[in-house]
Chain length 340, copies 2
């Protein structure tokens, strides 16, 4: 990756460049305001839980992707429907975070108690339903195209989650693992870029390339997440590492580890709970294993496909803004950089 | 209730009359077809669970209420959007049934294994999310009025569920219990009658009376359900009786029992699980207690309010069909009759 190192030395890290782009970007504050506006209920608890989740921070990657795509396609200002959809997408994402912690039994989120630990499983689940209803009704007020896309993405989220059976219960393959990543993570990226292209007046091929760009970036993003679960530390993750191993998730890393035939990977399909010692041994083995390089290579194929779709989108869009297209490339570079 | 007995001898039971009305009613088959049409997913399990729920039967009370209200307001045929909303409301209702069994830990539904017992908690919850998305997108394709009403009803469902803290955790009153009944049950009745009035071209007072009719009927329906949980048998309920006691639900019956000061009601607020013997003793006491009459009197106030709103609606609607209005009165009579 000499090319990338060179780029880094010339332009600074992608992380620093992306941070600069995002802090100069208008629209994110309005989206945050729309989100907070929708957190209204006669039940204080229904709103308190999402508010708590908001205080934990987060990159607001999906709304940023909506805004950056609209800019790249030449929108000088953000049309109000775009801000509504972007807020809706973040609300849907928040709903999935509430569910994910419960499914992963993760006690921590961003170094703090995860919502279900603080508020209990039932209230957290209901709060997720509340967010989903608020999100869907934001999108429902728009046109048929947006409603269809929102329905498709939300159905894929539930499909991705139900297909995510643990490795001791179902024999996953690279294909099923990738399908799950596409459905549970890339669906919202796809929705963000697809609706951004549509709501800035585009149709046909531009919309399809924009959608593909979002989807491929989303898959790469999920694989990156799977890799970081192994290679990163609790300090950087804000939660314990190795959760995917402990919960025997069909992450690409786990599926490749099993496929490698390594005796260490047998903990993923054994019927017994994984002990702390087994988890530590597994993490140590994986960190030095070619499995991580294999997963990284797969993610890089998806970032390359994302870059290619982005090129096609920019080439075909009549008013493409080349500086803003460059910002989307920075987002791809950032995903690649985090894998190094 | 001499007047009602007399009516029965002249016209047959309300149950028999309602059955005759519903079997002669067109539209229910189309609604069933729309529901089945929306149960499509790449994940077989997501559809298998709602299909299983459909095979367990059910009265399709909410779609019937939509159709009967439209007829009463003079609609000669059912406009397609009305059929879509009615199907959407039944899908939302199905989603809440999936959740309710989990919350109530009820092993049976209509004499068969309840869905979560058959398919597990996680898949059943995801299937509920799937139904909610499908339902909302059916309603989202309609106008702003329908979307607003659907959002309000769905938000109230989550509010009702989160407010339904058990009696050992929260000090409920008749007021909080009624609010919960209104939100978790009456909201969908309200949505059915409100959208039926709107989609048959009505506005203003007619829509408001129709909405009130649905809401009051829904509250009476929930109180009836609370009463039957005590007075009925497993054979008739299709599940164990006394679930509201065992789960310390803030049902109106339980709240009135606690307020009565009966020593037997202390099991509702004790910190220990309720034993089978305690549950049996509680049921025996309650069945012979004035608490049931008090709850019945409350329900009858709501059926009277529903009847009064129905009268106002019929008086103000320019094309009201008096025979079809009579069918809605039969629905009220049926609710009253089941309490006897």
């Amino acid at each position: 990756m000499g090319g990338n190192t060179e780029k880094k030395s010339l332009l600074g890290t992608a992380k620093a460049r992306l941070k600069a782009v995002m802090s100069a970007m208008s629209g994110l504050d309005e989206i945050e305001a729309i989100i907070k506006d929708k957190l209204v209920s006669e039940s204080e608890l229904l709103c308190e839980i999402p508010h708590y989740l908001l205080t934990l921070g987060g990159k607001r990657m999906r709304p940023a992707l909506s805004l950056m795509t609209a800019r790249a396609l030449g929108a000088a200002t953000h049309p109000p429907p775009l801000l509504d959809v972007a807020a809706g997408i973040e609300l849907i994402h928040m709903a999935t975070l509430l569910d994910d912690d419960i499914i992963d039994r993760s006690p921590l989120r961003r170094h703090k108690a995860s919502p279900y630990v603080k508020y209990g499983v039932e209230s957290t689940l209901l709060s997720g339903d509340f967010l989903l209803v608020r999100a869907f009704s934001l999108c429902a007020r728009l046109d048929r195209f947006v409603i269809d896309a929102t329905e498709k993405a939300c159905i894929e989220l539930t499909e991705g989650e139900i297909m995510e059976a643990p490795l001791d219960k179902f024999s996953h393959t690279v294909e099923t693992s990738t399908t799950i990543a596409r459905k549970k993570t890339a669906a919202l990226f796809w929705l963000a870029t697809r609706t951004a292209a549509h709501l800035t007046g585009h149709s046909g091929e531009v919309v399809e390339h924009a959608s593909t760009f979002g989807e491929k970036l989303g898959i790469a993003f999920q694989i990156l997440d799977d890799i970081l679960d192994v290679t990163s530390t609790e300090d950087l993750l804000g939660k314990k590492s190795g959760i995917d191993i402990r919960e025997r998730k069909p992450s690409l890393v786990n599926v490749l580890w099993l496929r490698s035939g390594s005796p260490g990977a047998k903990i993923l399909t054994s019927p017994n709970p994984i002990t702390d010692a087994e988890l530590d041994a597994g993490l140590t083995e994986l960190r030095a294993s070619p499995v991580i390089d294999e997963a990284r290579a797969a993610a890089l194929r998806y970032t390359a496909e994302a870059a290619s779709a982005l090129d096609s989108m920019a080439r075909l869009a009549p008013n493409a803004d080349s500086a803003a297209v460059e910002h989307l490339r920075t987002l791809i570079d950032y995903t690649v950089e985090r894998m190094e």
